[in-house]
Symmetry: C2
Subunit: 351 residues, 2 copies
DNA sequence: ATGAAAGCGCTAACAC
DNA sequence: GTGTTAGCGCTTTCAT
């Protein structure tokens, strides 16, 4: 091992070894760096034998190409940024299992396509930070999970030509590309199912200020209309995606004496919380109140009673989000995509 | 806007705009690139007025420094790799909520320290891929979640001086740094609690081939010993962290007529699955069988009955893992760290 | 206080 | 088929 010179900026602290570079491999192989470069990228230009010899040497040395240098030269990176906005006030954790699941799906999809995934939490009020990922050349584009109320900000980012795809609902005059579940359908089938069970006073649990929830509420109304059943506004409960809020809201509703015989929660967490609160107050699920959740996380089938829920295709979502982004990067016009959802009926809503 | 030359390699496809660079800012500000560089890094060398003027200009132009170039020059990156090994055979999703939660904690900790987080799924049988992240200069170090049975492989990576920190149990002759919950303690307090409730035949649900589970089992034994209660080997059920496996294993146990009055599951998922299976077969929880889980995920408190569980400090874990890695990078010797766990008693295990 | 120039590790013309 | 060379966009001596 020749460890000749050691000029250049300060090296990384203790645990790090001098990083091998292409020149080292070239020297050891007795060829030039260009040949190594070509060999390692599988170029046809280099003699097959030489290529194999170099590849073997590189492997043996545990050499891997410096991606920073490569990307700088090539003017591109292979990193996709995944951004989950957080509420700066509470600085709270990513807590909803749905987001977390999504992450899993995205990680797989991104890896499969030969990219790496950079996960970034950014202040929801300052989504410009997402643009930084791209402006700095770190990532080629951004997948944003959590449309929330940031439609306008997202539009501004898209206007700046930031390659971005958002998980969420399609909105009028939207400049950015969305991929999302069919919320109208989801809300409708869940509600129709409850109506078909003879339920007539169905609580809707979710904040319709959020575009996705708003669509689900529309589905809820549509199902009522189709069945000729009136919607009761006092059953529309605008709670955020938080267990505590759901709990106290349901509690208040019960205390206030408003009657209801079903609950449609806009997430499994909301639905499960509702079930718990109902039981705590002596109400039987599903006999007295049927409950349907949304997202169909794995836990839905393992809770008690197993929770009926509108299944969102998380893996598929990951794939679609990534593919949409890559298409965007190729300069294609990418229309919003809507993914099929499906009601999975379990015991929480059926006799 | 002068858009002078456009030489150099192919530019990114359609959606991308020509990326602004320091030279542009310099030209617009009427100074040299060195001055811009200095101004943007807050150097004292540059005139405060100039500095502010340049900063304002950069902000206005939405300019951000090209991190690839910067890092290449500086010989370091600000990315921490987070690796979750997957089983190549099943190619399965990250499914356990605990892992996912951990991701949230890590994302926060990494962001707080001014790093970015690169999430990477690698084949569990080929953890060398984790080393690539560092060898390629992409990441400065790796946090690996999922020690599984890969102790030897991890040791090899550490022997290669890869800066790596692993979430898991401390093992003899371990070359790599671990951060983990106090599994011995967790197993002990959970078991002691059940014994204190008068339970005498406690099922242990978890695969002791995994180091963490093995420690928990030791705790289980220790608690028994301390209480002078015999351990029954037929109650030690080596199931992996999968709901289906747990379900069928519990089912078989019940079918086989082996008596038991409590279950200690090594994850909340396992415990919840057990509860469900028990109820399905007409056994009351907690009256006939008390159940305690592990991890204390948010869902534990919202399932029915609320699940007693050994709480793992997920946020704290993220912080400790990252801090350990950074210490490693500074060349410090970092001893394994063990985090306190705490039993949270809920209705699933108390009358 | 500011500028000129070298070079981080790589790829791709362009020579041979 | 292989080597030489010129940058990719930055930071940082070194000069002024």
């Amino acid at each position: 091992m020749t460890a000749e010179d050691n000029k250049g900026p300060a090296r990384q602290g203790g645990a790090a070894r001098r990083r091998l570079q292409m020149a080292d491999v070239a020297r050891l192989a007795g060829v030039s760096v260009s040949t190594v470069s070509r060999a390692l990228s599988g170029s046809e230009l280099v003699n097959p034998e030489t290529r194999e010899r170099i590849a073997a040497l590189a492997r043996e040395l545990n050499y891997s190409i410096n991606l920073g240098a490569k990307n700088l030269r090539l003017q591109r990176s292979h990193i996709i940024g995944v951004v989950i906005p957080y509420d700066a006030a509470s600085r709270q954790h990513i807590t909803d299992p749905f987001f977390l699941s999504m992450l899993g799906g995205l990680a797989d999809a991104i890896t499969d396509r030969g990219y790496d995934m950079l996960l970034s939490r950014v202040d929801a009020e300052n989504l410009d930070a997402a643009a930084r990922l791209v402006d700095s050349g770190l990532a080629v584009g951004v997948v944003l999970i959590g449309q929330w109320r940031h439609h306008d900000q997202l539009n501004m980012l898209a206007a700046r030509k930031l390659p971005i795809v958002v998980w969420g609902a399609q909105l009028p005059q939207q400049l950015y590309c969305t991929v999302g579940g069919d919320n109208l359908l989801g809300g409708r089938v869940a509600t129709a199912h409850l109506l078909a069970q003879g339920r007539r006073r169905i609580v809707f649990l979710g904040d319709p200020q959020l575009p996705e929830v708003e669509r689900r509420l529309e589905g809820y109304r549509a199902a009522h209309a189709a069945a000729g059943v009136a919607v009761h506004n006092e059953l529309l409960l605008a709670v955020p995606f938080e267990a505590d809020a759901a709990r106290s809201t349901i509690g208040q509703l019960m205390a206030s004496g408003v009657a209801f015989d079903a609950v449609l929660g806009c997430s499994d967490l909301l639905a499960i919380t509702a079930i718990r609160e109902l039981r705590e107050r002596g109400t039987e699920v599903p006999r007295e109140v049927a409950v349907v959740g949304y997202d169909d996380m794995p836990l839905a089938q393992y809770c008690d009673p197993p929770l009926s829920s509108v299944h969102q295709p998380v893996s598929e979502a990951g794939v679609q989000l990534v593919d949409a982004l890559l298409a965007l990067l190729r300069g294609e016009a990418v229309p919003p995509r809507m993914l099929d959802v499906e009601l999975v009926v379990r015991r929480s809503s059926s006799a």
